[in-house]
């Protein structure tokens, strides 16, 4: 399973945590294919969307949300976090490993941490290997 592969990652992000056009270069240079889904508020990341991303072949799914306490809708990022935790549990149960799904609190332009977040996932994925359900 530890063969080299180019991981497919689906990135859901709230527009207050990440700006695709500014930070695109970071993503581009990583050794992976990233598909991005822009959200007006991270609370829009429903559990079914996370699962569908895996169904459409993502090896890992990342959610970028704004820092806690900064959500324009007050609780959006907390809801997102709870849903991610719920789906992680579900993934564990079906044997897909919850580690494939992760969430990060970031602010726009914080490129160091954005880069770090993606690296963390890529490291995890070298152990996890490709999505067995893809």
């Amino acid at each position: 399973m530890k063969n080299k592969f180019t991981p497919k990652i689906t990135l859901f992000y709230c527009i207050n945590s990440f700006n695709e056009s500014d930070s695109f270069p970071i993503i581009k240079d990583k050794n992976c294919n990233i598909h991005t889904v822009k959200m007006a508020c991270s609370s829009m990341v429903k559990d079914v969307f996370l699962l569908r991303a895996f169904e459409s072949g993502a090896d890992a799914v990342i959610v970028f949300v704004c820092p806690e306490g900064q959500c324009r809708y007050v609780e959006g990022n907390i809801r997102a976090k709870k849903r991610v935790a719920w789906v992680k549990k579900l993934l564990d149960e079906i044997g897909l490993d919850g580690k494939r799904l992760s969430i990060f609190n970031l602010s726009r332009g914080d490129e160091k941490n954005i880069s770090k977040a993606i690296d963390t996932i890529l490291t995890d994925l070298t152990d996890l290997g490709p999505n067995p359900a893809s």
Binding site: I15, S21, H35, V37, K38, M39, A40, C41, S43, M44, K46, V48, F49, R52, A53, E55, S56, Y73, E75, G76, R79
Partner: protein, 468 residues
């Protein structure tokens, strides 16, 4: 009765979900479920139903739709679980000049062939840059057209792109003593040209060319792009040539009505050689819109050119200058310079760049143009989002390169049909029966600076903020 010119329109729904303006945010945890009053079921526009269908059929989530913004779901939900934001994609659609609103309107027109109609009053700024700082006139009581709706189909939108003799002279037997030059008439003061970006595949180009052929206008095109597929349409193609390369395209030129030569000093020497390839060839000279534009116009107007085609940048501004003026002012300058030299009627002025809405056509003509050429709008009509991914070699989100040329043609015809109807609306309101009458008719328009000076000047004195 004269034959009525009409652009055939037909519904051409988008192939891809257009980018909607609003996104509804839903805090589902706040809703304990089965509300009999559920606003999702009651939505007047059935948006939630469609959205769910959309969602369940998609491999990837699609949470954005075209909400009509009545706010009822937000205000009536028993649990108050909804809020609304502007779709982040909509915010990044287009740019400052080609804004999201222009995209929406263009898509709507290309889809339906109808003119955008809405309730409530005007929603935009009081005045804006360029064409947005002029208003067109209307005639309150006395009007030569019969009435706003029934007389409209008789309003003539045709123009000529052929030069005219300065005066006629007659022999003693009253026969013409000169040979009048041939006439090139277009039924619409709009030509097509290709944008500087976009996946201009054979299909894309063919869509544009077919539409031009059907409505009877011309497409300005790089002759290198003309392949065998386009050969049946040569009559509607205007190859854009340079003095260096035209010799190698003589077979194409021989089958075209009109060609365009890129301007350079002494270009007029080539005209005769071109007409040696094809007699009666109509010649346009393509000139970048720079502060020297009016001098060039005066110089070329004396020659055997038919049309001067000025290229502004994509936002309708002058090129190669630190403080670029907008089309509106430059057209006026060029037009007036020719008028002052009593030579305006001899040639035709064509402008392109920044013509994004139907009203720009009327306004450019009021400023002194004979016609305009459009570019980006053609792609937007075919669902282009101007994301410019194609410039980086990335895939097109609406697969423009695969467009079916019949469908693309229908979308463009719809847009042109809708534009023409809007041109007629404005002409009708002014009581004009011919678009040619509009040329340089500044008296039938109102300009921001003049209105301010005339009406506010006596009250407030002198403007301290130089326009805006």
């Amino acid at each position: 009765m004269p034959k009525k010119y009409h652009i055939e329109t037909s519904l051409a729904p988008p192939r891809f979900q257009p980018i909607g303006k609003y996104t509804t945010i839903e805090f589902r945890e706040d809703c304990a479920g089965s509300c009999r009053e559920c606003v999702k079921k009651k939505c007047v526009y059935n948006i939630f139903k469609d959205n769910y269908q959309h969602m369940s059929s998609m491999a990837e989530p699609e949470y954005v739709y075209a909400c009509m913004s009545c706010l009822r779901c937000i205000q009536e939900c028993t649990k108050g679980i909804f809020s609304r934001v502007i779709n982040p994609e909509y915010r990044t659609l287009g740019d400052q000049y080609w804004n999201a609103d222009i995209f929406h309107r263009t898509w709507y027109q290309a889809h339906t062939g109808s003119i955008p109609v809405s309730g409530a009053g005007y929603r935009g700024p009081f005045v804006g840059q360029g064409f947005d700082s002029m208003w067109t006139d209307m005639s309150e009581i006395v009007r030569p057209t019969r009435d706003g709706i029934h007389g409209r189909e008789y309003i003539n939108t045709s123009i000529e792109l052929s030069r005219r003799p300065e005066r006629l002279s007659f022999n003693e037997d009253m026969s013409l003593a000169i040979e009048p030059p041939p006439i090139l008439e277009l039924p619409l003061p709009i030509l097509f040209q290709l944008p500087s970006f976009g996946l201009l595949s054979t299909n894309t180009l063919l869509s544009i060319i077919k539409a031009a052929a059907k409505i009877g206008t011309l497409v300005l095109i790089d002759p290198a792009n003309i392949n065998d597929t386009f050969k049946p349409y040569l009559n509607n193609l205007v190859p854009m040539l340079t003095s260096d390369n035209y010799a190698s395209y003589s077979d194409i030129i021989a089958n075209c009505q009109m060609v365009e030569l890129a301007y350079k000093k002494g270009i007029e020497k080539e005209f005769e050689k071109l007409r040696n390839i094809k007699k009666d060839l109509f010649i346009s000279v393509g000139i970048p819109l720079t502060p020297q534009g009016s001098d060039i116009a005066l110089e070329l107007a004396q020659t055997e050119v038919d049309t001067l085609h000025y290229y502004a940048d994509k936002d309708g501004r002058e090129l190669n200058t630190e403080d670029p003026r907008f089309l509106k002012d430059v057209i006026r300058e060029i037009h007036l310079k020719l008028v002052d030299n009593a030579i305006r009627q001899k040639i035709n002025l064509l402008f392109s760049g920044g013509i994004a809405m139907a009203e720009h056509v009327n306004k450019a003509i009021i400023c002194g143009a004979d016609a305009v050429a459009i570019d980006n709008s053609l792609l937007i009509a075919m669902e282009c989002r101007m994301c410019l991914r194609c410039k980086d070699g990335l895939s097109c989100p609406v697969k423009l390169e695969d467009i079916d040329s019949e469908y693309g043609c229908a979308r463009i015809m719809n847009l042109m049909g809708a534009w023409r109807n809007q041109i007629l609306e404005l002409l009708g309101a002014m009581g004009l029966r011919e678009v040619r009458r509009l040329k340089g008719e500044v008296g039938r328009s109102m300009w921001f600076e003049d209105l301010e000076e005339e009406n506010f000047g006596p009250i407030f004195g002198k403007r301290k903020v130089p326009s805006f």
